[in-house]
Symmetry: C2
Amino acid sequence: MTLIPKTDRTTLKRAPQRGEYDRATIHAILDEGLVCQVAFVVEGKPVVIPTAYGRVGDRLYLHGSPASRMLKSLQKGIDVCVTVTLLDGLVLARSAFHHSMNYRSVVVFGEAELVSDPVEKVAALKAFTEHVVPGRWDDLRPMTDKEIKGTTVLALPLVEASAKIRTGPPVDDPVDYELSIWAGVLPLRLQAGTAVVDPKLGDGIELPGAIAHWRRGSEH
Amino acid sequence: MTLIPKTDRTTLKRAPQRGEYDRATIHAILDEGLVCQVAFVVEGKPVVIPTAYGRVGDRLYLHGSPASRMLKSLQKGIDVCVTVTLLDGLVLARSAFHHSMNYRSVVVFGEAELVSDPVEKVAALKAFTEHVVPGRWDDLRPMTDKEIKGTTVLALPLVEASAKIRTGPPVDDPVDYELSIWAGVLPLRLQAGTAVVDPKLGDGIELPGAIAHWRRGSEH
């Protein structure tokens, strides 16, 4: 187990038992999520934007159009805070007060850096695609130089990062356990439906197994 | 259709066709989501925290312990940005460049206000519970005065808010439609598993139908 050192910002003050600083735990949550939330400050005011991401080793990658306000702001090296949240279940207690949720979340603080090295940039672009559907990259028409140049990629080092996790049943007031009220956890997960073929798809092109059998995370 | 007036911050500069300002659309996304992301500024730096929420009319409610740093910061009337993101599908194009996601998201800007009126506070507390499992509030042991006093509730008026929505198949480069690469959309939704009974639940307490048949959003 390798730990990411705690900082003042990543140390949980309340419910400290929910904090996790193990690198493998943080990586697993990032790898299971699909959308992250990127918060930054514009003219003194907070902005948070949902976006896709990828991870290679200890670097979280963001990408988009060079015209993106978010990417233009972030590549100035300003402070950023990124979260990924996986909702695992509704915790249904006997009182409203003790209702909760089971979740796994990661928060990363730092400054993003523009990725200009072409080798790292292509590796990051591959990571975005592979993050969504493993194996997809090799099935695709290769990226063109124009596309690579036309995509801004930023890296956020996973240096100041922590996870927060709640699992298990509700915790009710002792006297409430005698009430005739159903209590427990309703597990939730992101589930894929049946793939919808592009109406413009040519005949005889088979659905790849990685899409047909796509699933995320471990079984509840 | 009643529209929420656009502001500079809620007007989409790129892909303006994805912007929605209809109040009913914004409310529907907020009602389907379960976790929001609350961004604010602490000592000049951005922080974003996932948390539960509720909605009554044109007010989004946040709540938690009076000891919560987030709630202590927000009740000073500082600027806040809240997002709710629903991931509807993976958009799998013929090139990595045109991969995308189908989603519905809402962003709200404003200043949160402490809710001190007891009637509004109880209505908000009910909204948090009903938002998670409709009908649950009436099944529960009523909240005590101590619990109500011991919960901080903040309201964020839905005055500066917008939705952003992507739907439909991938949009590939014209020449790429001739490639023998599968393309389409893999729909995703939050799915409930089988309810897990609290190990401390007494005998003979039935699982309520609203939990057994819990589902979120419309069918794909």
